[in-house]
């Protein structure tokens, strides 16, 4: 009897509300943190910014690597005929700006890495983050043209900035980054959280200067004065000195999470692409020692044979899977388990310098830099000059520096060195027109076979931020692949 009352009052006591002061504790997030260090954010920004498999698959393998005739998809898809793939273009946009499941958006993380570094008063981490963010945003604007930049991640309906204003800000962001890096002090480095340079301030400074060169030449046709200014500003500044300075991502050879694995390998397993005919034929005609590294012999007869881009989809043979046994798959250097992919390599820095010299932006010797660039590109994939292989290659008349078509030579060599990084090669082709490709066998039904100048905006962005998209379109021209971005005037 007494106990029943004890029980009664015990339960009664438990029902008494009133106190809500423990509610904050009950509701505080238990599996996430409200404050953080920038390291984990920067790690995401560089890892995803180097394009993990999904982004690589869409942006490189399907789009840019086909445009730039590095690989050809079996079955002759519409992308290979320069027709738009709106879903894919939307995907690339949406996954660059915002997270979707395992798709972590590098632009968003780089931005936050800057913010958190500032909160932590670490100028070195902030500087590195600013430089990396500039690298990513340049790629983004080169893909689409005008994009949300100054208000991205800050406003519910971010406005679109003109590409020109973005470029001007990118330059000042990189310079600000360099300045921050030069602040003396015993600041904690990113260390191994920096998957690219292991927290090395010196290497990020070199990268910043090479990135400025990339930017400087991209705008050469539209703003030569600014271009000259950039090259003047980096005169005597440290640049890449060897392949050790390459900005690259090392992939995890054992992880079963495909977002950590070599994206070229992950997508090559699908076994539905072959090396392009144009690439194989170029390597063959130059007796390039990289032929056997870039491609594997065809299963059918052991020949190195490339698959032509832009074939007629009405040609029934292309639907027969056995047909593809005649063509080469990707070579060993791309599909290593412990492979790397390059964001910006030493060879490219030499080709940039060669071109700048050729255009008189600097006083360097273009011929010498051109040869050094080829050599660096070969060495990058392990081609040695111990038996004079590289010299032999350089001494071919077609390779020898020729002032009259030097730009084509430089850009063509850059194209070879950028193999499987079609995005950068595509930007350079849009700027220079090189390398020159044959007319496609089939010119598609939408853009009449005209070479794509950009990607179209994301459907979701168009739907959810319509006014700002419309403003950008009014400025830039129709949201089509044929519309040229600001620097693309040639």
């Amino acid at each position: 009897m007494k106990n029943i009352f004890k029980l009664y009052f015990l339960i009664l006591f438990l029902t008494i509300p009133g106190c809500t002061q423990d509610f904050d504790e009950i509701n505080s997030p238990k599996t996430g943190a409200i404050t953080t260090e920038p390291d984990g954010l920067f790690t995401v920004a560089v890892q995803r910014g180097s394009m993990t498999w999904y982004m690589y698959d869409r942006l490189q393998r399907y789009i840019a690597n086909q445009y730039m005739q590095y690989n050809t998809l079996a079955g002759s898809g519409s992308l290979d005929h320069y027709e738009p793939a709106y879903g894919m273009f939307s995907d690339i946009w949406d996954r660059s700006y915002g997270d979707q499941d395992w798709e972590l958006a590098p632009l968003f993380y780089a931005s936050h890495s800057i913010d958190v570094s500032m909160k932590r008063s670490n100028p070195h981490k902030e500087g590195i983050s600013r430089i990396w963010k500039a690298f990513l945003f340049q790629r983004m604007t080169d893909l689409y043209g005008d994009i949300p930049y100054s208000e991205a991640f800050l406003k519910p309906l971010p406005k679109f900035d003109t590409q020109e204003s973005i470029y001007i800000d990118l330059i000042s962001q990189i310079n600000l980054g360099k300045e921050l890096l030069s602040i003396e002090g015993d600041y904690e480095t990113f260390g191994s959280a920096d998957l690219i340079y292991n927290g090395s301030i010196d290497k990020w400074e070199k990268f910043a200067n090479v990135l400025l060169m990339r930017i400087g030449l991209r705008i050469i046709n539209v703003s030569p004065d600014l271009s000259q200014e950039i090259f003047n500003s980096i005169q005597g500044e440290p640049l890449f000195e060897s392949n050790d300075d390459n900005n690259k991502m090392r992939w995890d050879p054992i992880s079963s999470n495909i977002y950590f694995r070599n994206p070229i390998l992950v997508t090559e397993v699908f076994n539905n692409t072959r090396v392009s005919e144009k690439m194989i034929n170029t390597l063959k005609s130059y007796s390039d020692p990289r032929l056997t590294l870039y491609a594997k012999p065809a299963v059918l007869d052991g020949e190195y044979r490339g698959l032509k881009n832009g074939m007629d989809p009405n040609n029934q043979t292309i639907y027969d899977l056995q047909y593809y046994d005649k063509f080469s798959r990707l070579g060993e250097v791309f599909v290593r388990e412990d492979g790397v992919t390059f964001n910006l390599h030493y060879a490219e820095s030499l080709f940039l310098r060669a071109e700048a010299a050729l255009r008189g932006l600097t006083n360097e010797n273009p011929e010498e830099l051109y040869y050094k660039g080829i050599q660096a590109a070969m060495e990058m994939y392990g081609v040695l000059n111990d038996l004079g292989q590289i010299d032999e290659y350089l001494n071919q008349s077609i390779i020898l520096f020729n002032q009259s078509n030097a730009l084509e030579q430089i850009i063509t060599q850059k194209w070879i060195s950028l193999c499987m990084n079609g995005v950068e090669a595509w930007f350079e082709k849009r700027r220079t027109g090189f390398p020159v490709f044959d007319q496609l066998e089939y010119s598609g039904s939408i853009n009449n076979g005209s070479f794509p100048r950009r990607l179209t905006y994301s459907d979701a962005e168009r739907r959810l931020n319509p006014q700002n998209v419309q403003e950008a379109i009014d400025r830039m021209g129709e949201d089509e692949q044929t519309t040229r971005v600001w620097w693309d005037v040639k």
């Binding site: 509300p17 996430g32 660059s96 700006y97 997270d99 632009l107 993380y109 992880s255």
Partner: protein, 1046 residues
């Protein structure tokens, strides 16, 4: 004070005794088995203030005069009345059970029993008589068609599947629509969890309610509108289903009852496959082609895909042969005993169900103990504990998962024999399947799927509760109640090495454990007073509900030792821990007033403090006011054919913050596994909002209840309007904000509807009794507003481009997708290939409304016929006006496996033959056969010609419109025939009585518009209703149940 109080008591008793002539005693028993009916209400109709309830042994004492009329009411029994003759001072009143119990007591919010006629809102109860006709192992399945306005859909993968229950339409855009479940006053978990089917597959682990033993349920009451549920405050938005479990009854000695049943589930609704054309394309066979547009079967010698020499002839019923009969056996024992001091009940059940899918089954054991003790005259103590343990092996993979065998049968070329697939693995451990691939393919061998990629789960659940009911004074009562619901889930999923669709060839194993504890504590104090014509009830109380979830899930990749499926035998392990807590504190009060038993007013008020809301918005209040007016008792000259007539009116406000999580309020950095050992910090995907407040619903309800011809015809109707506003949802935002979505509080939805219930005792004489019950409902849903810049909200969708959307000034369950381009006369506008094409709006989008998911009308029909010892029960349910999109139908059309794709194939083949003979090329030839198509070309010129079927279906299957079906149906839901053995059968045995029933459920559709799948199929029990994706075939169940009482 004491003095005043005893005076008061004196007054109270003297009121009762004013007209008293003498006291009569009696006992109220069940007419069928003579068991006492404690709690039955007895009143003297002529003496307005008299009335009592039968005690635990069924006995009562009542003040009467000679000639006064006594009326006896008991929930679930027919009303009984008699005139006092004065012959005896002792009455034995035998009540007959009434399936369509009308007047009586219903359990309302917080477990409070109230007279149904006093209620100003609609409730509907299902008592154990109906539930006893137990044709399903999941009691939720039994509710379909029984209650007006209740819409139940399930993931359609057998008896263990999850159900989605919707009462009066969907009121929340993205929050759960599931009603609150309350068992014996305590809130229990009904959330099906995150694990339901999706476009990419997934496993339905069944909702937690499916573990409850239907044999333990005494009655179920559905509280539909906010008027009825406002006392549950922020929990009551979606309606409340109140379950009362069986208690021990007052009986001498031990009462034991045993029952066993066997149910056979047989799949009967299969896709309509074609059996005329085999593998190939354009009439030509190729070995590993994935289409069924090959040559016509001609019994010629033929080398199949395995290289075997066979004759080329039709292969029938691969899918039918793959599935088996699912056999479910269940055994149940109930033991009860009771004295006037103590009543006890124990039940235990054992249940074993084999799925129709090979290598898949579920076993469940339950134990339920319930005890009620009367400590003294004033204090009653009830305690109970239920334990459920359930093991499931190999629940089916749903939706688009390659391991879903149904998907395989839809796409597998028709000429592939099932026996060619039984050897599913080669010497190297790779799959042998019909597309010839061993990696990088989504064409799984179904036997690999069910034998190697298996899953297993264990659920333990304990529900415990106790309450103390203390009658402090005759007019003052208090209850304290504590209840706990603990669920522990362990789940394992294996994907074997070299599984054909995996991006890496290693084995993957996931093991997760989660536990959820809901504890709730209630305190209620209630006072009841009568003054002349008035009666007042005032209650107040407090409650606290804690909800906590803990989980740890690990995924391992790459086995070390073969076939050892434990997590530490994997090379790479990623673990994720989950922690979530929430608390809800509440204070509530109710006030009831009645005047002369003809006018009843009920007011409720509740204030909630919820921990999931931000500090500024933590406290919220909810209220309701309900009025019931018995007009038939108000005027004396009311038409005599109307026994009873009542009007109801209710206005209420309730709320809902159920969909909120902590991530809604905080910008959260989440650690996760990173690259080369370097950890990642992840950013939120959904933009937080620290000013979020609960959703609210303002509801109006009006109803009538009329009973005619001495209760032979009963009619109940309600109309309602529920406006739900301040919707909490994550609105999509442009990705340039960094987020995919943003938490917002916006938008309002209106649900309006009508519910009608008609019950009639068509025949009621001697041994024959025939009851019919019809219930019908209509619901209209309208989105009044979403948010300023958001005309459309996508709630779910599938990869085929179809989506379920909410649109402003339209509905919240729209099926949106592509449709055909037609000219103003409704003719197809054909493209350059003379095929129908997709219409695009000015923005180039193909998003058109193709229908809506939820039905407009639902009608249920229940028939019960008793003759002597036989009772026959049959029920039908139906719904009209909804639509469903079928991904399966789209797939089957495009690959040519379904029967409708053979139209025109013969004609096309002949046309092609003539073309080649005559040497024409395709551009100059006019086909002489194929699928006739007519329409206009882009210039508006009429075109009429034949099209190649393969190309035609390849185009049509991609246009969503052609795969949308009307989901209306009329279903013969249940049939049962029970024979109660007469007592004399067992005169010399220890058996008291016994019955045997044979029953069938889901017997067939009298009306169905879908092709090859059930109209109620759904991909998940979540929001993406109305999309069917490779649903398991619908099963028809037959069973036998034997019940013995000793």
């Amino acid at each position: 004070m004491k003095y005043l109080f005893s005076n008061f008591l004196l007054l109270y008793f003297s009121l009762i005794h004013v007209h008293a002539q003498y006291q009569i005693q009696g006992v109220i028993v069940d007419a069928a088995d003579g068991s006492p009916l404690p709690g039955a209400s007895v009143r003297n109709i002529d003496l307005k203030n008299s009335g009592t309830t039968a005690s635990l042994d069924g006995s009562f004492t009542l003040d009467v005069e000679i000639g006064s009329r006594i009326e006896v009411n008991y929930v679930g029994y027919e009303k009984y009345s008699l005139r006092v003759t004065g012959e005896s001072n002792f009455l034995e009143i035998k009540l007959r059970e009434d399936i369509f119990e009308m007047d009586g007591v219903v359990v309302t919010a917080l477990g409070v029993s109230k007279e149904e006629k006093s209620l100003g809102y609609a409730v509907q109860s299902i008592d154990n008589e109906v539930l006893a006709n137990n044709t399903s192992v999941n009691f939720i399945n039994r509710l379909a068609g029984q209650v007006a306005g209740l819409n139940i859909s399930s993931t359609s993968n057998g008896p263990s599947s999850s159900n989605r229950i919707l009462i009066r339409g969907s009121s929340s855009l993205t929050g759960s629509d599931q009603p609150l479940f309350v068992i014996d006053g305590s809130i229990v978990s009904s959330d099906p969890g995150e694990n339901f089917g999706s476009q990419d597959g997934g496993i339905d682990y069944g909702d937690p309610l499916s573990t409850i033993n239907p044999d333990d349920i005494e009655s179920i009451t559905v509280l539909k509108g906010p008027g009825a549920t406002a006392l549950y405050g922020s929990l009551g938005t979606n309606g409340v289903i109140v379950i009362t479990t069986k208690k021990g009854v007052l009986e001498e000695g031990l009462k034991i009852s045993l029952s066993s049943s066997v149910i056979v589930d047989r799949a009967y609704l299969f896709p309509e496959f074609q059996n005329s054309y085999g593998r190939g394309s354009k009439g030509v066979f190729t070995k590993f082609n994935s289409l069924s547009y090959g040559p016509v079967y001609d019994n010629s010698p033929f080398t199949n895909w395995l290289g075997n020499e066979i004759t080329y002839s039709p292969v029938y019923k691969q899918m039918q042969s793959f599935f088996r009969d699912g056999i479910t056996s269940s055994h149940n024992i109930q033991i009860s005993s009771g004295s006037s001091k103590n009543q006890f009940r124990l039940s235990s059940s054992l249940y074993d169900a084999g799925s129709i899918m090979p290598n898949s089954n579920i076993t469940r054991k339950t134990l339920n103990i319930n005890n009620t003790s009367k400590i003294n005259d004033k204090i009653q103590f009830t305690s109970k504990v239920s334990y459920y343990t359930q093991t499931a092996f190999n629940r089916p993979n749903l939706g688009g998962s390659p391991d879903n065998p149904v998907r395989n049968f839809y796409i597998m070329p028709r000429s592939v024999k099932l026996e060619d697939l039984t050897n599913y693995i080669d010497e190297t451990g790779h799959v042998i399947t019909w597309d010839g691939k061993t990696e990088g393919s989504f064409n799984q061998n179904p036997y690999w799927g069910v034998n190697l990629n298996t899953n297993e789960d264990l659920r333990d659940r304990i529900i415990g509760g106790l309450d103390i009911n203390y009658d402090i004074l005759p007019w003052l009562n208090t209850i304290v109640r504590a209840g706990w619901d603990y669920i522990s889930d362990t789940r394992e999923k294996r994907i074997a090495e070299f599984t054909v669709y995996k991006t890496s060839p290693v084995a993957t194993f996931s093991h997760s454990r989660s536990s959820r504890l809901i504890s709730n504590y209630d305190f209620i104090l209630s006072a009841n007073k009568k003054f002349d014509d008035f009666e007042f009830d005032l209650s107040g109380g407090a409650s606290r509900i804690d909800n906590s979830i803990r989980s740890l899930s690990s995924t391992g990749d790459d086995l070390v030792n073969p076939d050892l499926w434990v997590i530490n035998n994997f090379k790479e392990i990623i673990s994720t821990q989950g922690i979530s807590d929430r608390r809800l504190n509440s204070l509530f009060s109710t006030f009831d007033a009645s005047w002369k038993y003809r006018l009843y007013l009920n007011l409720t008020y509740r204030n909630d403090w919820s921990s999931v809301l931000p500090k500024v918005n933590r406290s919220f209040s909810y209220w309701s006011s309900n009025l019931s007016w018995i007009i038939s008792d108000t005027w004396d000259n009311f038409p005599s054919i109307i026994d009873f007539a009542k009007l109801r009116l209710s206005v209420a406000k309730v709320g809902n913050a159920n969909s909120l999580t902590t991530s809604a309020l905080y910008f959260n950095y989440t650690p996760s596994t990173g690259h080369l050992g370097q950890p990642f910090t992840r950013l939120p995907r959904i933009g937080p909002n620290s000013y979020i407040k609960p959703e609210s619903t303002l509801a109006y309800e009006f109803g009538v209840d009329i009973r005619l011809f001495k209760g032979r015809i009963n009619f109940d109707g309600s109309v309602y309007q529920n406006d739900s506003y301040d919707q909490i949802f994550t609105a999509p935002v442009a990705s340039s904000t960094g987020f995919q979505q943003q938490w917002i509080n916006s938008g309002s939805i209106r649900n309006r509807g009508v519910e009608l219930v008609l019950k009639s005792d068509i025949i009621k004489k001697f041994d024959l009794k025939w009851n019919i019950g019809i219930n019908g409902s209509f619901n209209d849903n309208e989105v009044l507003e979403l948010s300023e810049d958001l005309p459309i909200l996508i709630l779910g969708g599938s990869r085929s481009g179809i989506s379920v959307q909410a649109r402003t000034n339209s509905r919240s369950d729209l099926l949106v997708g592509s449709r055909f381009l037609k000219d103003s006369d409704g003719r197809f506008v054909l493209d350059e290939f003379n095929l129908p094409q997709v219409e695009r709006d000015e923005n180039g989008n193909a998003d058109f409304i193709l229908g809506h998911v939820q039905p407009d009308y639902m009608v249920g029909l229940i028939n019960s016929l008793d003759y002597k010892n036989f009772s026959l029960y049959l029920s039908f349910d139906s719904q009209f006006g909804g639509s469903i999109f079928s991904s399966s139908y789209a797939s089957g059309s495009s690959v040519g496996t379904l029967s409708h794709t053979i139209e025109g194939r013969k004609g096309w083949a002949e046309s092609e033959k003539s073309r080649k003979e005559l040497g024409y090329n395709q551009n100059t030839w006019i086909p002489t056969g194929g699928i006739p198509i007519s329409g206009v070309d882009e210039n508006g010129n009429e075109v009429s010609l034949f099209i190649e079927p393969e190309r035609y279906w390849s185009r049509l299957s991609g246009v969503n419109e052609s795969n949308v079906f009307d989901s209306s149906f009329i279903r013969f839901k249940e049939l049962s025939l029970t024979y109660n053995f007469p007592k004399r059968f067992f005169e010399n045995l220890f058996i008291d009585n016994s019955s045997i029933s044979v029953f069938g459920s889901n017997l067939g559709y009298l009306l169905r518009r879908t092709k090859g799948f059930a109209p109620q199929s759904s991909l998940s029990s979540g929001k993406a209703q109305g999309i069917e994706s490779f649903a398991f075939p619908t099963t028809r169940s037959f069973g036998v149940k034997v019940l013995i009482r000793i």
